[in-house]
């Protein structure tokens, strides 16, 4: 099934390149726009499955894309949004994760579009309601607050959780068994005070805790 996507990027060259890339990998770009107002209008018109937006856009060239995404998720809290940024800014990631349901968001450095397979995989994960945060952001936050209670392995696992991996993916990544990952994730939830049986997604809450340091 085609993932109907609205794309917002003010640089014409990159906008066209991204649109071509998405078209090729099973997305249908229903609108490709160049500023935040047009983004809001296009999402209202097309009700897409996914929004991919640049953060810095006209008219102010600061964080218009992000503000528009947050506004859109107020209206439609589960609207999947991937925000692209030229530099690592942890507060942008936190703003996105705070918006709407707190899932179905992605925050990536623009550089990641070069790793086509991974980039496409991230878009699909987010479109499916996953949460992905750029590894650089994760690294920065880890450095800022090593979440003192967690072991190194647990921090590693939490980092991958924040990047949107499921337990199977984490197991593959760290070359350990899925049972071991389950145990680590359980320990992380306990250490972060996330009791089982709560209504909200504990993985998302763990990610949020992690991002807020």
């Amino acid at each position: 099934m085609l993932i109907r996507t609205v794309l917002a990027e003010d640089g014409a060259l990159l906008r066209e390149g991204l649109a071509a890339l998405l078209d090729r990998f099973g997305f249908q770009v229903v609108a490709a726009v160049a500023d935040a107002d047009a983004l809001v209008a296009a999402v209202t018109d097309h009700a897409p499955d996914l929004v991919v937006t640049d953060i810095r856009m006209p008219p102010g060239f600061s964080d218009e894309g992000l503000r528009a995404a947050v506004r859109l998720r107020r209206i439609r809290p589960d609207l999947p949004v991937v925000a692209l940024s030229q530099y690592v800014e942890t507060s942008y990631a936190a703003d996105l994760l705070d918006s709407g349901t707190g899932s179905g968001v992605g925050y990536l450095l623009k550089d990641r579009v070069g790793d086509v397979r991974e980039f496409i995989a991230v878009l699909r994960r987010v479109a499916a309601g996953g949460t992905v945060v750029d590894p650089d952001v994760v690294r920065t936050l880890l450095k800022r607050n090593p979440l003192a209670g967690l072991s190194n392995r647990e921090r590693e696992v939490l980092g991958l959780v924040a990047e949107g991996y499921a337990n199977a993916g984490i197991a593959q990544h760290l070359v350990i068994s899925e049972a071991a990952v389950n145990k680590h994730v359980g320990n992380i939830f306990t250490k972060l005070g996330l009791a089982p049986g709560e209504d909200r997604n504990r993985r998302v809450l763990a990610t949020l805790t992690y991002l807020r340091g």
Binding site: G17, D63, Y87, K110, D111, G114, V116, R117
Partner: protein, 381 residues
């Protein structure tokens, strides 16, 4: 010649033996000629502005050095023209003094010129013999010091007037200083705006292009069969383009960090802290955003202090504090290293101190041996 003004010189007991009387005489005697030149040029100056009087003003400025009342130089102004008017007014007293000097010298010299068959008329009477001339000569000798004091008096009055006119008074000096300070601040602001513009241009231009390039090469690596001869070189180009993107981002960040314009000082300082190899804690109490120029200066002070600490201090922790209170923005970077930092020693802090000063701020460094080192900058905003 230690005296700074003719008035100080006149007060000395050895005044008559110093060079000052001769300076005064030279000055006063040259005044009538200067007056004539001034009168000639004044109409042009009044019509065409001060610059029209420039040649005469230049001569006058040199002449004033005789009595140590030289103007500070600088562009010719209306004050110089006013001074020419004063010179013109002094023409008559100067001429009278000149004649008096001739008379006194004639009195003194009279015994040398008198001969039995020539009658010398000396104003007060006539002399025929050397004996008759002697009292006149003595009178002349007695009058000469007095006359030199009168010369000094006239030169002194003139130099005082010239000083008052040509040396910026307190108020004028203050006005000029304010203008200089404003122009310096404008320069720093323009410099800062230019950096933002360059950052924006690079972001919209080069960075976008390289992102596109990286993406195209990413697609190409996917499309080429892995065993194709081009696969390896395309993969190499892809890797290099990605590295270029990283380096370009660092470069742009060094010109002007986007986080600073987009999110303000606290976020930008936190980002700096994240980049530091030494653990940094950041405390910010900056409830309002200062002007962009002040933000930039404060940011670059912290950036420089952090980079110095990382390179030289041997510190294990660094604290960055920023606060905005009573319209003063203060940033402070303290490390627990071994101290002994020297601001003058090839450190970028000197240039930053100038930048702070241009904004009316201050930059201070405290780094005793054995530490700790504190760099602190304050800006009015």
């Amino acid at each position: 010649m230690g005296e700074r003004t003719i008035w100080e010189a006149v007060g000395r007991r050895r005044f008559l033996l110093s060079r000052w009387p001769w300076r005064a005489v030279a000055y006063v005697l040259s005044t009538p000629m200067a007056a004539a030149a001034s009168l000639a040029v004044l109409p042009f100056a009044l019509v065409g502005g001060p610059l029209a009087a420039r040649p005469v003003v230049a001569v006058e400025r040199r002449r004033l050095r005789l009595v140590r009342a030289a103007s500070a130089g600088g562009p010719v102004s209306w004050w110089d023209v006013a001074h020419l008017l004063v010179v013109a007014l002094l023409a008559v007293p100067s001429l009278v003094l000149g004649l008096a000097l001739v008379l006194v010298l004639a009195l003194i010299a009279s015994p040398l010129f008198v001969t039995p068959d020539r009658v010398l008329a000396l104003g007060f009477g006539e002399v025929r013999t050397v004996q008759e001339a002697v009292p006149f000569a003595l009178t002349g000798l007695a009058l000469l010091p007095l006359l030199l004091y009168v010369f000094a008096l006239v030169a002194g009055v003139h130099s005082t007037v010239a000083r008052a006119l040509l040396h910026p008074s307190g108020t004028r000096l203050r006005t000029e200083l304010v203008q200089v300070a404003q122009s310096r601040e404008r320069l720093v602001t323009a410099f800062d705006a230019e950096r933002r513009r360059i950052e924006r241009d690079l972001h919209d231009g080069a960075q976008q292009r390289v992102v596109s390039l990286v993406m195209q090469l990413g697609i190409a690596t996917l499309e080429l069969p892995p065993d194709s001869p081009a696969a390896e070189s395309v993969a190499g180009a892809h890797a290099q383009a990605k590295q270029l993107l990283v380096e370009l981002r660092e470069f742009v960040h060094g010109i002007h960090p986007q986080a600073l314009s987009d999110l303000g000082l606290p976020a930008a300082l936190q980002e700096l802290a994240d980049r530091s190899p030494i653990p940094v804690t950041v405390r910010c109490q900056v409830p309002a955003r200062p002007s962009g120029t002040v933000e930039s200066a404060a940011y670059f002070v912290v950036a420089e202090a952090l980079s110095n600490a990382a390179k030289h201090s041997g510190a294990t922790t660094i604290e960055v504090a920023a606060s905005l209170r009573h319209d003063v923005l203060t940033v402070e970077v303290t490390d627990d290293g071994h101290g002994g930092a020297d601001a003058g020693h090839g450190s970028g802090l000197t240039g930053l101190a100038d930048r702070c000063a241009a904004l009316g701020g201050t930059l201070s460094l405290s780094s005793p041996e054995a530490g700790p080192t504190t760099v602190r900058a304050e800006f009015p905003c």
